[in-house]
Amino acid sequence: MLILKLAFRNLLRHKSRSLLCGLTIMGAFILFSISLGFSDGSYGSLIRMLTDTQSGHVQVHRQGYLERPSLFRHFQLSQEIKQQLNDHPQVQAWTTRIFSSALVFGEKKSSIARLMAVDPDQESQVTRIREKVKAGKFLSDTTDVYNPILIGSHLQKLIQVKVGEEVAFIGQGADGSVANDLFTVVGIVGKGSDDAESRRVYLPLKNAQEFLSLGDRIHEVTIRLDHFNLARKEAESLRNILNNEALDVQPWQVVEEQFYKAMMADQQGNWISQGVIMLIVGLVILITVLMNAFERRHEFGVLLALGTPPGFIFRSIVLEMTLLSGLSVLVGSFFAYGLNWYYSVDGIKLETPLEYGGVVFNQMLSENSMSVLLIPAIFSICVTFLVALYPAIKSARAVPIEAIREN
């Protein structure tokens, strides 16, 4: 109690200095928390966009497909697997896909295109493919059209076709035959930029299986979970449940490895800049504590002369600064929570949309979670604790008679 009393009263003794130091810690904490909130929020948005529009959370392929995608690395989705996927509590939805390439011929021009065959009904439950249609209709909204396709806007411009027109595909079938057929453009997807999506053609899974002579075989099962954070754990769980050595079950972090690595590198860069902020704050705190300790050197000399154990003086200084940082963090938490909440609801709109790892986003949202408060709080208190150690040790080791003479 005595040590706590001394620590509190010493903080109140130099109110303006304590306030200044406290505000510095609080400012750094809030800055750190918001920066972490935006960082988590942005990455969260990116991951959501990536998984919602493209990859899903977990994918199942035949072994080796991810490393070297090939028309011939296909597999059959047995009833048992379908049942296992349907029964899994964390699986919200799943869909099947086929990928291939083909030469696409319009009336005047031709181009190479990447084909992505989807189950129109199931795909809509896993990704936001339906929202990508900028003109025309989605695949499942057409009933009387022969071989309907959605065509990427870039590709559409290249081969100069319109909704309702026919295009011819020439490709290779899984049985080695030449695959060719006519398809009808029912919709345009993408924004016209030269990205992968705008060069793609979407077609119904059944039509693709027929066109590519795949029978009922597929290349990929794409799974949507309750949250992208569950991907690694549930991929492992599904791997165990499916228990099929021929199949490769991977979370989005592995499927989109380049994106994930770029994101992690970016995140580490953020940690460094946040570390620099805390380093500067640490120096400010160190100066304040040192100034405080040197000013009170005479007092520490008297305390030692009266028989105060050196350890008591050490603990008193460390406690004083830890209390100050604890209080600053506590007060700062209200501001940080409020700001993070505000920006998680109404993020910062970007005038020019940013593209990151192939994902375009136009708003920076913060994330208001426990970790965006807890990590900066622990960090702030630890930095204060660490910088208080040196002045505390120095004061505790003071030679009483020398310290008393310094009045």
């Binding site: 001394l6 109140l12 002369a305 028989g307 154990p309």
Partner: protein
């Protein structure tokens, strides 16, 4: 024969090195007995404060030996010396040196808190000493709210309340007016008489010399006289 509480044998202390070396104390032999009310007097620079600092272990001897309450101070570490002072020695400083963030009561109680004296006993002793030093009703004040004389009373109460073997006071009246000085000296003398408390002062103050039962005179670091009145 009186029981010796401090025994200094052949104590020398010098500061600095080589030609700049200053000899503050030269082969001082001094025994302080329980119940002494002794004044160490002498001109400025004669070594009074140095001797007092050495007697309480705040300063180390260059040669010789100091035994306080039967224990040699030479080989003790900083922590051991702090513990020893806490348990055996009460200190009164010229500049009072109260802890500014503690109230009068808390200042008086401070050493007992370090000694882990039970709370009831602490409160009882603090109340008693507050009355003894004439500061009833001022227990909740902070040092800054007290006059110099009142602060020195608190400092004396702080030194005495833990019942140390000896109280060492360095020029305790130097910053006080003569009237307050006399009051405090009479108070200390009263404690000396009533409770056989041992006091050693370093002083220039004739009022202390007048009341001292023993007067040790230092000149150039030598004891030149040791007079028992």
């Amino acid at each position: 024969m009186s029981e010796i509480v401090i025994a200094s044998k052949n104590v020398s202390k010098h500061f600095g090195e080589g030609e700049a070396q200053v000899h503050a104390l030269r082969e001082v032999d001094l025994d302080i007995n329980i119940g002494d009310f002794a004044a160490i007097v002498g001109p400025s620079g004669s070594g009074k404060t140095t001797l007092l600092n050495i007697l309480c272990g705040l300063d180390k001897v260059s040669s010789g030996d100091i035994q306080v309450s039967g224990r040699s101070l030479q080989d003790m570490s900083g922590s051991e010396l702090a513990k020893f002072r806490r348990e055996h020695i009460g200190l009164v400083f010229q500049a009072y040196n109260l802890i500014p963030v503690l109230t009068v009561m808390e200042n008086i109680e401070y050493v007992m808190l370090l000694q882990n004296v039970p709370v009831a006993e602490r409160k009882e002793r603090v109340e008693k000493f507050l009355t003894e030093v004439g500061l009833e009703g001022k227990g909740n004040r902070f040092p800054v709210e007290l006059s110099g004389g009142q602060q020195q009373r608190v400092a004396i109460a702080r030194a005495m309340v833990s019942h140390p073997d000896i109280i060492l006071a360095d020029e305790p009246t130097a910053n006080l007016d003569s009237e307050t000085g006399v009051l405090l000296l009479d108070m200390m003398r009263k404690f000396n008489e009533e409770f056989q408390m041992t006091f050693v002062f370093s002083t220039h103050d004739p009022q202390i010399m007048e009341r001292a039962k023993r007067m040790v005179t230092l000149t150039d670091g030598h004891i030149v006289s040791d007079e028992i009145k």
